[in-house]
């Protein structure tokens, strides 16, 4: 079985699982407790937080653990807008965000916010000038994803950050769930975003774990209240073991990023070259996109038929994104990209990960070639 659905989730690394078990055996105490065991668990949690802070170039007190990417994006959007209501009620985002941002925006709209949805070009990229034009005096938040989850488009985050910091006081939030470990993700001083959301299970750690980190001390209204954990920004007993192995997975992803990146480039080139030889295939992801995501479509063919056919041969891929693939409608990303109608139904995403091997890529291309040729041959 070849698992090419790493953008949906990844297989936890053996080291991660082993450490997770050890931590639950030895450091299971509540890190907020004042007894020895609690202090020890807290010391371990602090080390994890410091390690993460170093990796993304901020301070430990600005790293807040959450339950995952969705909560992190929600916290950024609702937390920042709640504490800036007196400044303004205008928010900028894009037409291709993950639903954890998109749906949050819809709720803000109901609450009386004015939301600007920036369009993307055929490559899925937002124009710098569009951001500039959209910024207003009452803009309090700009939320833009780094790498698109459905087709891998990469937004020029640094250029956006510089522009937003220069021309406004808006908070710039970046959904980096699909980019951490693939592209450089860090605060980079003044050229960086104000906050970053990262998810653990996308980088070979565990589900139910994520973080939001800030460049400076955040103006943020907590959305989950209770015992005041996570500097009062996110209550709930802190999941020490999950967060520590998250830190571990982040370190490994950081250390191995360049090596993986080179492999992804090489492998994408090989897969795309194969796809382009096949009949009625359109490659939707672009050369400028993140190389671990390869999205394509076969004309007049429903995506799920292709997913099932490939699975029968041992290749696991997904329709555009796992979150929306169970819904029977064209994804908002595909709509925003203005793909021709013949190709809208059959969008399939292959996503590579840290455990992908060259042999898997070779086998996968053979399966793609065989399956698509058979299906298209049969329907002719």
């Amino acid at each position: 079985m070849i698992y090419f659905d790493n953008s949906a989730t990844t297989q936890p690394l053996p080291d991660v699982l082993q450490a997770f078990v050890t931590i639950n055996e030895r450091y299971y105490a509540n890190p907020s407790s004042i007894h020895e065991r609690g202090v020890e668990a807290n010391a371990l949690l602090t080390r994890a937080r410091e390690q993460i802070a170093t990796l993304i170039q901020t301070e430990a007190s600005r790293v807040i653990f959450t339950s995952g990417g969705t909560e992190s994006n929600n916290l950024a959007i609702f937390g920042v807008t709640a504490s800036t209501q007196h400044i303004g009620k205008h928010v900028i985002t894009t037409a291709i965000e993950h639903p954890s941002v998109g749906e949050a925006m819809k709720r803000l709209e109901k609450e009386g916010y004015d939301i600007t949805y920036l369009p993307v070009d055929a490559q899925g990229v937002v124009a710098l000038n569009d951001v500039k034009q959209a910024l207003r005096k009452d803009t309090v938040l700009v939320s833009i994803m780094h790498v698109n989850n459905e087709m891998g488009a990469v937004q020029p985050i640094e250029a956006f950050a510089r522009l937003i910091h220069e021309e406004s006081r808006a908070h710039f939030h970046v959904d980096a769930v699909q980019s951490y470990g693939k592209l450089p993700v860090h605060f980079n001083g003044d050229a960086g975003p104000d906050s970053i959301a990262i998810s653990a299970h996308k980088i070979h750690a565990l589900k139910g774990t994520g973080l939001i980190a800030f460049r400076k001390q955040p103006m943020l209204t907590a959305q989950i209240v209770g015992g005041g954990q996570e500097f009062g920004k996110r209550s709930g007993t802190v999941a020490v073991a999950q967060n520590v192995v998250f830190a571990k997975a982040m370190r490994i992803a950081f250390d191995e990023r360049e090596q993986h990146f080179a492999n992804y480039l090489k492998w994408r080139h090989h897969i795309v070259a194969t796809l382009l030889q096949l009949p009625d295939v359109k490659v939707i992801s672009t050369k400028q996109g993140a190389p671990h995501i390869i999205t394509f479509s076969v004309a007049h063919l429903r995506g799920e038929i292709l997913v099932n056919a490939l699975q029968d041969k041992g290749l696991i891929v997904s329709t555009s994104s796992a979150c929306s693939s169970k819904q029977q409608q064209t994804s908002h990303v595909i709509t925003a990209l203005a793909i021709e109608p013949a190709y809208r139904e059959g969008v399939v995403r292959m996503s590579l990960g840290a455990l992908t091997t060259e042999q898997q890529v070779m086998e996968a291309t053979a399966i793609l070639r065989a399956v698509i040729t058979t299906i298209k041959g049969a329907s002719l």
Partner: protein, 402 residues
């Protein structure tokens, strides 16, 4: 790498006449001490400045960070060097000034020519180098009077030396040049600041802490150890003496009326500290007391407490406002540790209405009910001593998990 050495300018010790050689020697030792993990440094001393040779870029960065904390240094500058060739000099001048390229600073060039055989004379050199820098970095502006950056070019016999950046040192005097004292370290915000201020005046410190288990937890002791460790970054080791005080505190509770127990407790602490001082041949006692801050720090209280000894008690914070003390604590990095929420031995057994004007005779009268001399001698004799920084790094039990 362009960097050749770091030039260190001494603080006020330049004015110390015949003791100067001793001061310079101490400063050199303290620099060696606080950089021991970087390997052996080549240090050259002159009567008003000191040079540390640089091997690589990392060493320069590490030294720039460390030297800022070492007392006795007024300021220091990384110095670059090149051959005695005008093209090389121009290039080096550009490299040295590169760090200021994005800022709008005023600057001037000063040239000193020890090698009088060098073909270009000082003014000509000044013009050539100034023009090169100005045309490379348009943000910089020439200004002869009080420029923000003074670039110094020295044409010596062996090579040409260029420096521009002046980094402020911590000032003060090298630790050890003013003897040894004992610091009463409670774990609060004030006492580490008092210790810091005395270290800055060249005093070497031993810290004493009173530990009252089970009324105070191991966490509070850990906190005090961390504070002692933090004080070592100013360029000297710190010994921490931990005295078990539970027995004495309980005895005081028995013997002395509640409203005077605090005064009696302080008196006992001071007697114990004085015994430690005698034992280690220190000269004075340092406390973080600030006048009027709490009941034990009124002038009457201080008098009643001070009555037990004739040893000089140094109270560097006596006239400081709490907010000023907090400011310093934050600057020197002890604040975060100090505010960890653990009980210390001063906050337990606190009477509801302590006397702010205790009478010495009355307190002394109650103290006669037990033989405290014996209790104190035993507590001081059984004290535990920790030395910081610790020689060996504790094994990192979390390393595999991260």
């Amino acid at each position: 790498m362009i960097w050749k050495e770091i030039l260190i300018r001494y603080g006020e010790l330049s004015t110390k006449g015949k003791n100067k050689m001793d001061f310079i020697r101490r400063l050199r030792e303290n620099i060696r001490y606080s950089t021991a993990d970087l390997g052996h440094l080549t240090i050259r001393t002159e009567h008003d400045r000191m040079f540390i040779a640089l091997d690589n870029e990392e060493m320069k960065d590490a030294l720039v960070e460390r030297l800022q904390h070492v007392f006795g240094i007024q300021s220091f500058s990384p110095v670059a060097a090149c051959g005695k060739d005008i093209e090389e000099m121009k290039q080096l001048a550009k490299d040295v000034m590169k760090q200021y390229e994005d800022q709008t600073y005023t600057f001037k060039v000063e040239v000193k020519r020890t090698d009088k055989k060098f073909p270009l004379e000082s003014h000509a050199l000044q013009r050539v180098i100034g023009a090169t820098v100005l045309s490379t970095y348009p943000n910089l502006k020439a200004q002869m009077r009080k420029p923000q950056i003074e670039m110094r070019v020295e044409v010596r016999m062996d090579a040409v030396y260029i420096m521009a950046q002046v980094i402020q040192g911590a000032g003060g005097m090298p630790i050890g040049s003013n003897g040894r004292s004992v610091l009463m370290l409670s774990g609060g915000i004030d006492s580490p600041v008092a210790g810091y201020l005395m270290m800055k005046r060249g005093v070497r410190l031993d810290a004493v802490h009173f530990f009252s288990p089970p009324y105070t937890s191991d966490n509070s002791l850990e906190k005090v150890k961390d504070l002692a460790k933090e004080l070592t970054k100013f360029g000297a080791n710190v010994r921490l003496h931990v005295i078990l005080f539970t027995e004495i505190q309980l005895q005081i509770k028995e013997d002395v009326p509640e409203n005077m127990s605090m005064t009696a407790t302080r008196r006992m602490m001071l007697r114990a500290v004085d015994k430690v001082r005698e034992d280690i041949n220190a000269l004075a006692i340092v406390t973080g007391e600030s006048l009027g801050q709490v009941a034990s720090q009124t002038l009457d209280s201080l008098t009643a407490i001070n009555d037990v000894t004739t040893t000089p008690i140094l109270r560097p914070l006596i006239a400081y406002d709490k907010l000023d003390i907090i400011d310093i604590a934050q600057q020197i990095g002890t604040y975060e540790t100090s505010i960890r929420p653990y009980e210390d031995c001063c906050t337990i057994f606190t009477p509801a209405n302590p006397k702010t004007k205790p009478k010495v005779e009355k307190v002394a009268h109650y103290e006669e009910r037990s033989d405290y001399e014996v209790l104190l001698d035993r507590a001081v004799k059984n004290r535990e001593i920790y030395v910081y920084p610790e020689k060996k790094k504790v094994e990192d039990k979390f390393a595999d998990l991260l």
